[in-house]
Assembly symmetry: C2
Homo-oligomer: 325 residues x 2
DNA sequence: GCCGAGACTGTGAGCGCTCCCAGAAAGTGG
DNA sequence: CCACTTTCTGGGAGCGCTCACAGTCTCGGC
């Protein structure tokens, strides 16, 4: 930097001003410095800058999930893509961190609080995870994807309206004349697990326990849950599966059991992922706009970093009717 | 840090020594410092450390591809997961960066050379990309996944033995009595595109151009290529598809055309991904061990960072025979 | 012509750490 | 007992930057 200053015939201070927006710099000095920068091939040392500004201009994307879900669930990929883009536009670096095991979470907690990042995007945090508390005590800005169960009033989050989406889908199934509507839920320690079940109950009231089975959003778990349901309630005429991926598994089981879709059993999914359209029959599902979620998350996080506030954004969900209902 | 020193009754120097391995520190001082660290909740400031050490203890994972591939191609996910783990064990942070567009690559180039990282893992770099040259002029350690076309002697890389894998598969098809063996290649500016075709040619010699079609590793492109092949060479009795995902598309087209697999047309894939076993019929394919690739990449990169060397690792590939041939 | 309000510039201090060096203390061999 | 090495310690310097401050210069208003 001193070199640049010398080449440009100005002082360090002026170079610094050029680097940080160019306010209070004369046109002559500006061009001289810019030329000197190009000539010397100078690039700022982020570490030195961060040392004095106490900011790192980077944020962490923490994927906090026990399984290899990133690889199976396309929703994560969409979120990641959206956040990467939204942050790149703001010249902020995204650091991806996977914290599957409890030990990982410890390590990540340490790492994050060491000042590496200005804020945290929390994805797929299950209820009761210690990570949130640790981050909160450090005062780090956080935005969660999905309602952070037990922390709704403490940290910002962006979520799709799971409950309303579930309501829409179940009402749609009823309007199609279905009366024995089963549900395959997500994990009950995730908002998608809890809230979609709640939406189902909003429409149908307290459910027959034989019509409820749990999954973990994977295709396999959807298949297993469907088998269980068929065994317990062979007379079901519809099933609301809380993710498209699980719905794929459920559809395969139904078809193997000789059920026609949608004639014998109507199937509704959730997410409106690629899988929904590539399935046969194409799935009726609930669209949630993950691209929008990521944009909102980044916006909220930056708000939180600069002004320290806290807020929640609930995005609408939309019924997409296709061939499976 | 000064606080820790005071609490422990020692100097900054001693605290620093404890933080960096504890050599030349008396047992008394060691325990005193450790207790003081716990008491004060001290965590090192990475930026200050990096400023003096000129290291960042983090590396970049640059995915240089249109972003949608991350979602569709599970190989990336496996690589990413493997690298994350291998680096976590070494207490090195992985920064994921997606550089799909040319403009992205510029931005990433700038960013990487700003000293944010000690090295770079390059994934899915196409031939002729300017990124490699820019990184090389900065003298940054690089390890590529897959043979970096045109830079084999300049930068380190880890690759599966694509050519031999292709040979194995095509020879297997021949041993099954197939005589009209077509190929659906990957993009011809990627090593997987070039080398697998070369392996095919090793066995069959210069191919009938009607038996060669190009894809881009996506399922759709596999389907399109298969349609083309069926049109141009309706008498083909086998097809070597250069990725499992494309093979899925090809299989669907063949089945729609009334061809039985493997009776009428044998199909071979590449990757041994999950898709290969979930397909019907299950795919004969070539296994390449991506988990191993990621481990080797991290090892090579660290070698390169510490000792500055350059080397290449070619991992063996293995034929996995299933029902499609 | 003087004054005050900008616009612009250079300089010193210091962010929190590691590294080097000088020196004290402790151990080793003759 | 004295050299001599080895272990251990503290303090100064400085990594490359930003920020606050003091100072200069210009210009419009009275």
């Amino acid at each position: 930097m001193e070199d640049v200053a010398e080449v440009a015939g100005v002082s360090r201070g002026t170079v610094s001003r050029v680097l940080n927006g160019g306010h209070y710099v004369s046109p002559d000095a500006l061009t001289a410095v810019q030329r000197a920068i190009r000539k010397t091939g100078y690039v700022v040392n982020q570490h030195a800058r961060s040392l004095v500004t106490q900011r790192s201009d980077s944020i962490a994307f923490i994927l906090s999930d026990p399984q290899d879900r990133l690889f199976e669930d396309p929703n994560f990929a969409i979120l990641l893509k959206g956040c990467t883009q939204a942050l790149a536009e703001r010249d902020i670096t995204l650091l991806l961190t996977v914290a599957g095991t409890q030990e990982d979470r410890k390590r990540v907690g340490r790492w994050v609080t060491a000042g590496h990042v200005d804020g945290v995007l929390l994805v797929s945090e299950h209820a009761g995870s210690p990570l949130i508390n640790e981050l909160r005590t450090r005062g780090l800005p956080i935005v969660a994807a999905g309602r952070p169960i037990g922390h709704e009033r403490e940290i910002s989050y962006v979520a799709a309206d799971d409950r309303d989406g579930a309501r829409q889908l179940v009402e749609h199934l009823r309007s199609r004349g279905r009366r024995r509507i089963a549900i395959i839920t997500g994990p009950i320690d995730t908002p998608g697990g809890v809230d979609r079940l709640a939406g189902y109950q909003d429409v149908l009231g307290e459910p027959d326990p034989r019509l409820v089975a749990n999954g973990d959003y994977t295709q396999d778990s959807g298949a297993r849950a469907m088998e269980e349901l068929l065994h317990r309630a062979p007379d079901l005429d519809a099933v609301f599966v809380c993710s498209d991926l699980m719905a794929l598994g459920a559809v395969a089981v139904l078809q193997r059991a000789g059920k026609r879709i949608p004639e014998d059993v109507a199937v509704g999914g959730f997410d409106d992922s690629k899988a929904a359209v590539s399935a046969t029959p194409q799935l009726t599902t609930i669209r949630q706009d993950f691209a929008r979620v990521s944009v909102e998350m980044v916006r909220l996080l930056q708000d939180s970093i600069t002004s320290g506030g806290r807020s929640a954004v609930i995005l609408p969900t939309e019924l997409v009717v296709r061939d499976s209902t």
